[in-house]
Structures are given as C-alpha cells and as structure tokens.
C-alpha cells in the first residue's frame, strides 16, 4: 500500500470521529427519565398521560392552528370532556410549575421550544 502511514491513521481517526455518538454514549451515565412535578389534586390530563407525553407537541401545534386560524377554541377530548384551547389558561392552570414540569424534561432532552417567548408562564414561576 502506498502512503500507508498516512492512510491508516487517517482511517482510524475518521472511524473514531464517526462513531463518536456511540462510544460517548457508553461513557456517559445512562439517561434517566426526569422526575416531573405533576399537578397536585388533579388525576387526569385532557388525554391519557402516555399520549400526552408522546404527542403534546403535536396537540399544541394543532391547537394553535385550530384556535387562531379556524376559530375553534373548544377541544372535545376522546373521553367527551370539553376543554378551552389555551396553553396559558388551560394547560398552565394545572401545570403551574413550568420549571419542574416543562423545563426539566426539555432540558434533559436538549430541546428549546420558544413557546415562552410570547406565552406567559404562570406567576411565581419566573
């Protein structure tokens, strides 16, 4: 092989960099689901918790368009209960602890939604 002394270390470095996500993951502590502050005195969310955990961003996205663009501000949940469509006045009425509910999970997943650039977080929480 020509120039093997350059090529082989080059390949080694390339493979090392390329597999960085895998081995860096092995070295760092295992991901643990953060302990969130759930609303006291409330048993259920608008939809089952499993669904909310996975799809709350989707539901907020649809809520936004339905309320603002379609003028439909009532959400009839799968169990028939009716909710006002409002991040500030419905979601945050129960989930008053933004720091220990929204932020905790978002931070540990490195997502930065810009909801709060406009929407006002519940008082005593800023």
């Amino acid at each position: 092989m020509y120039n093997g002394k350059y090529i082989i270390p080059g390949i080694v470095i390339f493979v090392g960099l390329f597999t960085f996500p895998f081995w860096s993951n092995l070295l760092t502590p295992k991901y643990e689901r953060p302990q969130l502050a759930l609303p006291a005195g409330q048993k259920e969310c608008i939809e089952p918790a499993e669904y909310m955990r996975a799809e709350h961003m989707h539901i907020l996205d649809v809520w936004r368009d339905q309320a603002l663009r379609e003028g439909k501000r009532a959400y009839v949940a799968s169990n028939g209960k009716v909710w006002d469509i409002s991040l500030q006045n419905t979601c945050m009425k129960c989930h008053t602890n933004k720091a220990d509910f929204c932020d905790k999970c978002h931070n540990s997943n490195s997502v930065n939604p810009y909801c709060w650039d406009c929407h006002v977080a519940p008082r005593g929480n800023q």
Partner: protein
C-alpha cells in the same frame, strides 16, 4: 442492449428515490397522531357575525380621560408594551382630524371637529392590502371579516406594514417584554421580530365578550354585524352621518366614524 440496461437503471433509481422519499414523508407525518375520537369545535359562548364592524361616535368622546381609558383597556389586556421611541407599538391610539382623515374634505371645517382627537385602530378592511401582500398567510381575513395575525408564522418581513394604508401595524423591533409593566397572565405577549395589530378582540368574541375598547367606551363605540340591518352598528349608521378613512382606495374599512 447496454442503452436499455442504462435506461432501466435510471428508471429503477428514480423509482427507488421516489419510493424512499414518499415513505420518509409518510413516516414523518405518521408519527404525530391525533387522539382517536377527539374533535375541535367553536365554543358554546362565542359571538358570531357575517361581517364584524365598529362604529365610533366621536361626539361622545371628549376628554383625554375617555381616550386614555379606552386605550388602557386595550393595551393592558393585550400586553401591548409602551415603548417611548419611534419603534413604538400601538393597537389603538388617537390623532388629529387632518392625520386621521387625510383627504381634506372641507377646508373650513368647524374648529371643534378639526381640533378634536380621533381614535385610530386597524380597520379590518373588506379588501385588506396587508393580507394580499403577506407571503406566509401569517395575516389573514377570517370568514367573519376580522383581519388577524398568526404570530407563530410571521417571518417579520414587514411587507404588511408597507401595504397598510392606515398605519395600523407595529413591528417588534426588539423584545417587547422589558417595556411591559404589568403582564396580563391570560394573554400572550409577543416576541421580537413579529408584526402585531388590533385583532377586534377575536379572542374575547370567542368567549362571548365584546371588544375591550367597546366595553370601556361607555357606549361611544358600537360593535356588531354589518350584514344584519338590526345590529347596533347598522342602526347607528342609518341614523347618523358617518365617514370612513381613505374611502377612495377601495379597501372598504370596517371602522366607521360618526362626526
């Protein structure tokens, strides 16, 4: 033979690419699902109209306090910041006759009329130039005639501000929050880089309330359905002489002034 093989490979490649992208798109849209059985509906309390419109009886608005009360009602509910520069933000404000009704209707207007203050706000035009020019449908006209803003979608190009013949729009040149003393926790603020304006209180109409300025005006501002001959606005317009701002440009404003 070789050409047909090449053609075959080309077509196969294109087909694979097409299939790949379509499945990728499916995958991207399929993972976000609505909850089965969930529905969206207009709220039970909402006020409906074919064409919302406003009539301002300028004869009933005299003192500075009248105006300040109305402006404060709107601006405090909607978290409109008070920025003391030319980059200010306002949804409803006052100006003199010459600046409000720029077509000089009468050179010798009664001094009382000329020297008075008049309320200005978005006209919610029938034919809104701002909606025409918006490249993202961030501002649009609802079926009931209200011209609203979707701040989530606005890219801040400010074409609508150049398009608006009434100077009704404001741009958040910077972060508005430092300029808000009291934040109404029931309504959002805006963020840096988006355009905002009066929304005819569409969020209040949804829950059965009249616009904040109407409520604060002690009857000087009327609000109702322009398509309904029995609505308070149509009655007031039938009984009084009224004018609109810049009628010659064809926008058909939804705000009428009784002078």
């Amino acid at each position: 033979m070789s050409t047909t093989r090449r053609q075959f490979l080309k077509i196969a490649g294109l087909a694979a690419f097409g299939l790949g992208t379509s499945t990728a798109l499916d995958a991207a849209t399929a993972d976000a699902k609505d909850m089965e059985g969930a529905k969206y509906d207009v709220g039970g309390k909402h006020l409906a109209a074919k064409r919302w419109a406003m009539v301002i009886d300028t004869r009933k608005l005299e003192s500075r306090e009248d105006f300040e009360r109305i402006i404060h009602a709107c601006h405090s509910i909607h978290n409109v910041p008070s920025i003391p520069t030319k980059q200010e933000i306002k949804w409803i404000w006052t100006d003199k006759y010459d600046h409000v009704f720029t077509d000089d209707m009468s050179q010798h207007l009664s001094p009382a009329v000329r020297e008075k203050d008049y309320l200005l706000l978005c006209n919610h035009c029938e034919n809104p130039p701002c909606v025409r020019v918006c490249p993202t449908k961030a501002t649009f006209k609802r079926a009931d005639g209200i011209v609203v803003m979707d701040y989530h979608r606005c890219i801040g190009c400010r074409f609508c501000m150049a398009g608006c013949p009434y100077g009704a729009r404001s741009f958040n040149f910077g972060d508005p929050r430092p300029y808000l003393k009291d934040v109404n926790p029931a309504f959002p603020t805006r963020m840096r880089g988006v355009v905002e304006k009066c929304t005819f209180c569409s969020e209040r109409l949804e829950v059965g309330l009249l616009p904040a300025c109407v409520e604060a005006s002690n009857g000087a501002i009327l609000f109702g359905d322009l398509d309904d001959p029995n609505s308070p606005v149509r009655k007031a317009l039938a009984e009084n002489f009224s004018i609109r701002r810049k009628p010659s440009i064809g926008t058909q404003p939804g705000v009428y002034y009784i002078v």
